[in-house]
Symmetry: C2
Subunit: 333 residues, 2 copies
């Protein structure tokens, strides 16, 4: 049987509240009383009932992290950092997989698991600003990734346009001219893709290289399979790229695979660049050249913003923060 404050109180011969005071570190407790209570707590192996505490306090100490898929290395790494950052605030992180489905994302935005979580850190794929606006009385939310225009929530991201521009410029500096892009999305939801495409285009234009439509390869889910398929399509169409900028590392790993199958050497025949800086890219053959955001700092800032919302006043205007990134050179470009 589980013990309650009451059981501890009876054993120690004090009131329930005194035990509660000891548990919560209230200073004005006589040393001998405290000792008695602590002895009783230890003897009964008392652990507070968090449901009751949460109800009483109105806070749960749980924050949610909503990501599309944990199996994607980028999000797995991000999750790890968020958990670590949250631990500093003594928060527990509940991880939600949305699978990138608009329906599930909307549920997160509207505050699924209401009252169970104090706040949400949300990395949306398909969510639009309209979706966000509807959830009026939800828990505080911090968005990761691209800015959802005029969204009512705090927001942390890297400068996608600048990063994509940097990477494309790097490929140009290597002497490449027929630079393909894999991961293009023309849907309204593909904000990330649009930003990275914008950076890509900007770099080409700045170098006086025309954008060749045939070098733009769409991909919806940014999985390895799509990276491989996109690469094969490029080769089959005779587009003859001398470099490929993949909009994330997973696509790039797939592209590497397809190039290998086609008997092309990387980077000699085709240079490959990725985006996200996932661990896998350090061990692929060849290792990936990629944009590595400072994920640890990203997580840290997101958690801190949430903390500020939780302790601060209600009406504070949404904040926007940029996090540094690094162009990490591997062997692939």
């Amino acid at each position: 049987m589980r013990h309650r404050l009451k059981d501890v109180a009876e054993r120690a011969g004090v009131s329930v509240k005194t035990v509660s005071n000891v548990v919560n570190g209230y200073p004005h407790v006589r040393p001998d009383t405290r000792a008695k209570v602590e002895e009783a707590i230890a003897a009964l192996k008392y652990r507070p009932n968090l449901s009751a505490r949460n109800l009483r306090r109105g806070r749960t100490g749980i924050i949610a992290l909503a990501v599309p898929k944990l199996g994607l290395p980028y999000f797995a790494e991000l999750a790890r950092h968020v958990v670590d950052a949250a631990a500093k605030h003594e928060w527990t992180v509940l991880i939600d997989q949305t699978n990138g489905s608009p329906e599930q994302e909307r549920m997160v935005a509207l505050g699924i698991r209401d009252h169970l979580i104090d706040g949400v850190i949300f990395s949306p794929l398909a969510l639009t600003a309209a979706d966000l606006a509807t959830g009026s009385q939800r828990a505080p939310m911090v968005l990761l990734g691209e800015r959802v225009h005029h969204g009512p929530a705090d927001h942390v991201a890297i400068d996608n346009v600048a990063a994509a521009r940097d990477m494309t410029a790097h490929l140009i500096a290597l002497g490449r001219r027929r630079i393909a892009a894999i991961g293009v999305q023309h849907t309204e939801e593909g904000v990330t893709a649009r930003l990275r495409l914008a950076g890509y285009t900007a770099a080409l234009t700045a170098a006086g290289i025309p954008v060749d439509e045939r070098l733009l390869v769409p991909a919806s889910a940014w999985h390895r399979t799509e990276g491989a398929a996109g690469m094969r399509a490029l080769l089959a169409a005779g587009a003859r790229p001398d470099a490929v900028f993949c909009f994330n590392d997973t696509l790039a790993l797939g592209a590497l695979r397809a190039l290998h199958e086609a008997g092309l050497r990387v980077p000699d025949d085709v240079a490959v660049a990725g985006f996200d800086g996932i661990e896998d890219g350090r061990f692929s053959v060849p290792t990936l050249t990629t944009i590595a955001p400072d994920k640890e700092r990203l997580a840290q800032i997101a958690v801190d913003l949430l903390a500020a919302r939780l302790s601060g006043p209600d009406g504070a205007p949404p904040q926007e923060r940029l996090v540094d990134y690094q162009l990490r050179r591997g062997e692939s470009a």
Copy 2:
């Protein structure tokens, strides 16, 4: 402001309990009453306070999944399956990273976050049977992975010895004779490593091949770096293996990397085999030959066992379940 049952009740002109009945799908509610209540719920955007509900019901609807590291693809994939399986029971999964540290694992075993979770699915790395025995009044627990001898908890795993034997036999069938093993652990905690080594040894012995100590490479954390380092060590020592059985896929990916750097061809010069069946292995160059456990079923069974513990009587004897695996052939062996 957030609304409570009371607010809904007042608006609908019924008692609090009636609203509660509607919310919980209690059948004996007149249709018109139900309609009134539902209108009020919608109008006020009422959401039940889960802390209060949990307190009252004595259950939280949250189960924990404790894994060493989410960044490791095997555990990320596992987590995804557990979340899906838990959703069928309308459970929320809280994921705990232990980082494989004995201290953190012990906390999980003892029931950290007591009263917040209804049960734990636990994939321990370093935990011993003694650690498990101490947590007497903790929430029900299901262990994933190797059997902790005489542990008092349910347990789901694949037959590691058989799987390792199969894989080694496969390498032998390919004509390999100098088969190295990367991932050997001699510590008390390395149960998994011991089982896989046992399978490896058994297959060699069955084929009349002596076990060569110099082909056994230790690795403690089974990361890519260790796989690469282990492979390099083998080559540097002049051990001249014609195949490597890595005790997990991550090690294998590292080994592939090291072989590539050494200018050796896979599988022509050295065949490489892994263990775990992670997604990455399908896209590496070359693709990995690996032991792929049925993770979905593993997760399903673990969740079901937990469900049985939660609804069943207290003293049921610990169950043990084996899950199928598949030797998935890639290009590497």
